[in-house]
Amino acid sequence: MSDFVQAEQITGAKQTLDRLRANMRQTIKGKDDVIEQVLICVVAGGHLLIEDLPGVGKTTLAYSLARSLDCGFSRIQFTSDLLPSDVTGVAIYDEATKEFAFKPGPVFANVVLADEINRATPKTQSALLEVMDRARVTVDGQAHAVGSPFLVFATQNPVDYEGTFPLPESQMDRFLMRLQMGYPQPGDELEILRSTRTGYDAIRLNAVATREDILRLQALAAQVFVEDSVLDYILKIVAATRTEADFRAGVSVRGGLALRTAAQARALANGRDFVLPDDVAELVAPVLAHRLGLVRQTSDALEERRAIGAILKRILTLIPSPV
């Protein structure tokens, strides 16, 4: 690989990420692993789905990230009566110019927080398909590019909660990762209880990374070297999900690519310019789990999630990592 990454670039990237990490820790207590994965998602340039019960800090997490980055931020509260045009924007007839002018919707930002995305109808959810995949919106045959970088952070409640519409598979596949927050540790929760903060607006964080920083990180991550045996490892994992009898369908090609991209990002986040098999193994669950479904019916969504996680773990133990 000729475009070999300079050591200074790596150090620079690491410093940027360290700053972001330290910043987010101020508001998100005791969730370093989640912060880590969020950062990987940012570096990989992928969209993130945070799923958990209401009130465990999903939105706070997304807010903290958005505030730590010095770039355009918008928030869409998804409800059942939200329309696609409310998300993407709409062309309005301008009396003055006598023609339709496009009025950009809230997705025209760099970081979009799609709060409680599964409370909108599938129609509205699908409005996000194009923008998440291509980073542009097409209205009335005209394509409008959204910001760059473009990151969607969606939060959702577990799908079988009242008044939710499950995201379609095609939509799920477009998220790079799905994370669970989980309840904080007692010590951390105590600290949260002690704090005086009440609302999201009270989150006061300084932006520690610029748009250019993020773009540079993403470009650098794409250059992280992946050795053939590691690619082979990824291939074997993806192939194993396709032959696994318990899964409805295996991981898509996009899923395999996502795993590679995420592994590259993780390598960069750890200050390396090459991917280790460990990077891949660590990311299998967050990157692949939401792309899979079980053949058999489970009692609830959490149960299914656990079963998929267990099967993925078993697949990982069966495939020897390249030595």
Binding site: M1, S2, F4, V5, F225, E227, D228, S229, V230, D232, R272, D273, F274, V275, L276, P277, P322, V323
Partner: protein
């Protein structure tokens, strides 16, 4: 230091131990099939029970505890009763052994019990081996050795505390339900795991160990002194006699005869000069001269007159005298259960047995009969054997003359105890054959054969038409197809009717040349019967084979074309036979003489090779000296220096760019096979789980997974890694 390889846990080891122990029991129980010992039911029960508990390892837990308490007293009582009732030693011991194996096989075993299984199994296999000395035994002892080695290894592994203790403790108390390993046993999964755990090093080491054991055994076999056991062993009675079809020493003509095709080997023959094998060899074994009540047998008179008194000797001088300068050796390996008569081509000069035998010899008939049908393979070597198909018998000519003068032709060779109508039929046929013209014995034989061949087709499924009178005459007069015995019998009757003494000879005809072991093979399906007709003119017995497709006596040719190309057998069964021949020639038949010869040959070969090597070395040194001593001028020295420099340069370049070269030669998969990456991977595995310097690990990781452009100098990294490993070793110490 130890890299984290996948390992079997104690449960899986216990399962493996159970499986291997069961296999050992099965392997050793099967040996009973080779012996003539009444333990078949017991063996069948053992095999079934052990196979069942292998398949379902939880079953032994269901056996109530009183069974375990009573098992040993019951076995002892059984053995005592058995011993008392049978009044023999070996069969009860074998049965006791199987009973113990059965008990051990179906109960959870401690370490001591596992070792017992090996000893008990070994006892059975050794007894069976001594009794049968068959090729199957060789295969079995090899399988047993491999299995027992694996078993011992697993036993040793499971004894490692503390994980083993729990398993062992569970195994001790069968009353408390099945142990955990038995409950979780799943053989498919276990085999998959074993395959996962086995890497090439374990397999290579195991194979090496196994080959080592076999090699040491082979060396011991070569080196230990020989002594003859067979005839003095009391075990002979227990050997299984295998009944074979094909050869018979009395012929009875029934209504329907179907000859079974048995393609197993009856005799293997080594010939020192293969070109001397006749194109259509007739291996004589028995002469049947007495035709009475529709069957041929040896007449008591012939038996008394021609067979010598029983002798016990290792060699035997025949009546033939070999011509000077040619000594063809024929070594016969007669399989057990074929016959007590030895197959021979004709008369011979000298016959040597491998060991002293009890036999009777009929020199005029060219036959040798052992006292008993041999129960193991019998080997003998024959020198100066005639093969012309003509057997001189001047005595008979004299007696024939005397009998003719006396007018009482009461010789078995001429006897025709037939009714008048039967005689009339024969007379008619003989007249038809002669066509009103007197002929010699040879000519009559040819004509009669032609007559028979014109009327009867050759077939293994023959039928004798119903009716009154002699069955052979009925067949003769019909147009039914027949087999060789019918053709030969009919010809004998016709010849006797015509006034020529005639008899049936049975033995083997033909055979095939085994191209793998270079020996001649006679199969039971080669068994044959033909005639000998006495020709008063030459005072000799002439071979006549009336069966269609046969060659007349004297018309046969010998030669390489006849002996080898026509019958070369290159089939798979020939391969297997060659293995048997090797087993007999080199292993079973390995006596003191062969031992000396082999050792001498090995010694000579070693010395010879050493001498040649030394000579070659000396020659090389001398040449080098001469080359150095020849005058050196500037041009010559320069030329050689240039050559050396070029070689050194190429070597340096190769060393410097070896990863690149590697990639060049290995195409697109080069990166995965890159030697630097591989070595770094090995170091990473070694340093895994070690408090190694993170910088060293990072460098190794970069070499293993990073882009080559960013690689640190590999040699320096290896040095650091070695130091880290050493430090770790020191800390451990």
């Amino acid at each position: 230091m130890a890299p984290k390889r996948p390992q079997l846990n104690s449960e899986e080891l216990a399962q493996l131990k159970w499986l291997l122990g069961g296999l050992l029991v099965l392997l050793s129980a099967v040996t009973v099939l080779y012996m003539e010992i009444d333990a078949w039911t017991l063996t069948a029960v053992t095999a079934a029970a052990v196979a069942l508990v292998i398949a379902r390892p939880t079953l032994p837990a269901r056996v109530p505890s009183w069974v375990h308490r009573l098992a040993f007293p019951a076995i002892v009582i059984f053995f005592a009763g058995d011993l008392y009732l049978t009044k023999e030693v070996l069969p009860p011991i074998v049965r006791l052994d199987i009973l113990l194996l059965l008990y051990r096989g179906i109960s959870y075993r401690k370490r001591r019990d596992d070792l017992q299984i090996i000893v008990l199994g070994l006892f059975l296999i050794v007894v069976a081996g001594v009794l049968t000395v068959s090729l199957a035994f060789a295969a079995q002892i090899l399988a047993f050795t491999a299995c027992a080695l694996g078993f011992l290894l697993v036993i040793t592994l499971t004894e490692v505390p503390p994980a083993g203790d729990r398993t062992m403790a569970a195994a001790v108390a069968p009353a408390d339900g099945p142990p955990a390993w038995a409950v979780h046993a799943h053989w498919g999964r276990l085999l998959r795991r074993v395959r996962e755990v086995l890497d090439w090093r374990v397999v290579a080491l195991g194979s090496l160990l196994f080959m080592g054991v076999v090699a040491v055994s082979a060396l011991l076999f070569l080196a230990i002194p020989r002594f003859q056991l067979e005839n003095s062993l009391f075990l002979e009675r227990f050997m299984t006699k295998k009944a074979r079809t094909g050869f018979s020493d009395s012929i009875k003509f029934g209504d329907v005869t179907d000859i079974q095709q048995d393609n197993s080997v009856a005799v293997s023959v080594d010939v020192s000069d293969p070109t001397r094998i006749p194109a259509e060899p007739y291996w004589r074994m028995v002469v049947l001269d007495d035709y009475r009540e529709g069957s041929f047998r040896i007449s008591p008179a012939l038996r008394l007159e021609t067979f010598s008194a029983e002798r016990s000797d290792a060699q035997l001088r025949g009546i033939a005298r070999a011509r000077r300068g040619e000594s063809v050796y024929w070594t016969f390996y007669l399989e057990a259960g074929v016959s007590r008569y030895l197959p021979l081509l004709g008369t011979f000069e000298m016959l040597r047995f491998r060991e002293r035998q009890n036999f009777r010899f009929a020199d005029r008939l060219g036959l040798v009969a052992l006292r008993d049908e041999p129960v193991s393979m019998t080997a003998y070597r024959v020198e100066g054997m005639t093969q012309a198909g003509v057997l001189p018998d001047p005595g008979l000519a004299n007696r024939l003359g005397l009998a003719a003068e006396a007018g009482a032709a009461e010789m078995p060779q001429l006897r025709l105890q037939l009714t008048e109508p039967d005689r009339a039929v024969l007379a008619r046929v003989v007249a038809e054959i002669r066509g009103g013209r007197e002929s010699g014995a040879d000519e009559f034989g040819v004509k009669a054969s032609a007559w028979l061949a014109a009327r009867h087709r050759y077939s293994l499924q023959s039928r004798v038409p119903a009716g009154a009178g002699d069955s052979l005459v009925r067949w003769l007069d019909s147009r039914e197809p027949g087999h060789c015995e019918l053709f030969a019998g009919a010809l004998v009757l016709l010849a006797r009717e015509a006034g020529y003494p005639a008899r049936i000879v049975t033995g083997f005809k033909g055979g095939s040349w085994n191209g793998f072991s270079n020996n001649f093979t006679l199969r039971n399906s080669d068994a044959h019967a033909w005639c000998e007709v006495f020709d008063p003119a030459t005072a000799s017995w002439r071979r006549v084979d009336p069966t269609p497709g046969a060659v007349a006596a004297g018309a046969e040719q010998t030669g390489p074309a006849a002996g080898q190309t026509a019958r070369v057998d290159r089939s798979w069964s020939a391969r297997l036979d060659s293995l048997r021949v090797f087993w007999y020639r080199r292993i079973v038949n390995f006596d003191q003489r062969t031992q000396e010869e082999t050792l001498k040959a090995v010694k000579t070969a070693t010395q010879e090779t050493g001498r040649r090597l030394r000579q070659a070395l000396e020659r090389g040194v001398a040449r080098l000296k001469a080359w150095l001593a020849s005058p050196w001028d500037l041009a010559r020295a320069g030329r050689w220096l240039a050559v050396l420099a070029a070689l050194g340069g190429v070597a340096w370049l190769g060393w410097r760019f070896r990863p690149a070269m590697w990639r060049l030669f290995h195409g697109r998969h080069a990166r995965r096979e890159d030697p630097v990456r591989r070595k770094a991977g090995r170091w990473l595995a070694r340093l895994r789980g070690v408090e190694a310097d993170p910088a060293v690990v990072a460098d190794l990781q970069r070499l293993r997974y990073g882009a080559p452009a960013g690689w640190p100098e590999p040699a320096a990294v290896w040095r650091k890694a070695r130091r880290a490993a050493r430090r770790r070793a020191n800390v451990e110490r």
